[in-house]
Symmetry: C2
Subunit: 293 residues, 2 copies
């Protein structure tokens, strides 16, 4: 398997579907579609939808059943980025090398674009699901829980309340299990669910994604210190400026690197029961470990 | 029928369910539940959930099937108020006689509380629906469409883009059909749907709510000029300060009063085919016409 070719082909399929699901049109509120698509098409790596597709394939599922849910997850991820960048949050001017949403469309429209993307995630699943009503509801429930107060939003709350404070390793881990890992875990669990996976498959996928989600965050923290602003497409050193506790501030750079390697290896280890079928997910894990943005 | 007694009893039932659906708990992100409940329990009139319950009863439905969807609509309405009050939107300090959400919890937490309420609306429907999966999906689809870019959010977009401009009557009407009437229409359509109403019932309920929704907005515009700040629980004269086009700025006070009466009468007329069974909805329409907040 040529990992990069396969990765690229999955990204292209996701992008095509996103364009289909959020069609721009001439109407009095046309700006909102422009604002939503601006952030949605800013060139993300589509990690979450690609993971969902791959986890479904791993257990024998097909792409078309998964796509509405995969794209919904990307919409939710994107809305969270628009919000994170707002002046009242991290106040970032640059994201993926482009001005942030509120810099282009103004703060009010950016808030609405965020709301609209979250709302549209649910509309997309409701309108386009091709699986049974029960399966649709089960997949939506997983995604709604992962993006809500017991998932991503809960993590953002801990993040905001931790600013300017020194937090301990338990709080840091709790924050990132919610803020970052929850959506990644939903991606792999829902993938396995829609693909017809067993209860054991769902557990394995959740365990895999928990390790990978934390590894992903450690890498983010490392890149905020060592990354190149141009390659990264956003400002570095932001965590320090906002007095945020990170894996680096708590564990130091060397131990963070070790944790990153450890968790990535543990994620890959979970996949061992799938043998060669897991090749894409293994390569994806390694790609995330060595990424520069 | 004692309208006020019936209204009060419906409000109490809605409030009980809202408390049940959003339980506060001790957890690292407990603040978000406080922030959500702060705005949710600020004493709204629960017009939308009460309408949904009443429209379901009108066609023979029961309360328990409707409640998760009724409360979801109130959560969506409440999140839209939190957002409307933000500094980047209308910048209001007071809502329902209490400091606005961002004044109490800070802007970042208020944005998250808004997101969380929208997300929780979907979680509430997914977790608590007692109707069939197909019916659950149909009701959720109506609500998601009404709150999204083709509904409420679309209206907010037109609102923001109209600030400081003189808009015409068509744009004003389009704005409020989206911003205000869409959720009210969803309340009555979903009520009829869950109650087992026919296609004709759904059309009638939609027509009724379209007139009532616009009447509701005209009354809001009137109260912004003539209302008493204490009774209203928020600042008056805000539309003028923000240079917003309103029914008053376009039609003048006298004609706006006439339109308010006309649309309320038209709403009530739609109900005539239901005879005495529509008494509560008729009284509710009259109550909304004469309300002082």
């Amino acid at each position: 398997m040529d990992f990069y070719k396969e990765f690229e082909s999955k990204i292209i399929e996701v992008n095509k579907s996103l364009e289909k699901y959020i069609e721009e049109k001439e109407c009095p509120q046309s700006t909102i579609y422009k604002a939503m698509n601006y952030s949605l098409s800013a060139g993300g790596k589509r990690i979450r939808p690609v993971m969902m597709l791959a986890c479904s394939e791993l257990v024998g599922g097909d792409t078309s059943s998964v796509m509405p849910f995969a794209c919904a997850l990307e919409m939710i991820h994107t809305y969270s980025l628009i919000n994170d960048d707002l002046p009242c949050m991290d106040n970032d001017d640059l994201r993926r090398g482009k001005p942030t949403n509120h810099k282009v469309f103004g703060e009010a429209m950016a808030v609405l674009a965020g709301d609209a993307l979250l709302n549209c995630a649910f509309e997309t699943m409701l309108k386009n699901a091709e699986v049974s009503p029960n399966m649709t509801l089960a997949a939506m429930s997983e995604i709604a829980a992962a993006s809500g107060t017991e998932g991503m939003i809960g993590g953002q709350v801990i993040d905001i309340e931790s600013e300017g404070k020194t937090i301990d390793a338990v709080t840091l881990m709790t924050m990132h299990l919610h803020k970052t890992a929850a959506l990644i875990m939903a991606a792999s669990r829902v993938g396995a669910l829609l693909g017809g996976g067993s209860r054991e498959d769902l557990s394995s996928m959740e365990e895999f994604a928990r390790y990978l989600g934390i590894a992903f965050q450690i890498k983010d923290d490392i890149l905020d210190v060592t990354g190149n602003e141009e390659t990264l497409g956003k400002k570095t050193g932001v965590d320090g400026l906002l007095e945020k506790s990170t894996f680096i501030s708590i564990y130091g750079m060397e131990q963070s690197q070790n944790l990153l390697n450890d968790y990535t290896n543990k994620a890959i280890e979970v996949l061992s029961r799938y043998g060669e079928k897991a090749e894409f997910l293994i390569e994806l894990s390694k790609f995330l470990l060595s990424r520069e943005n």
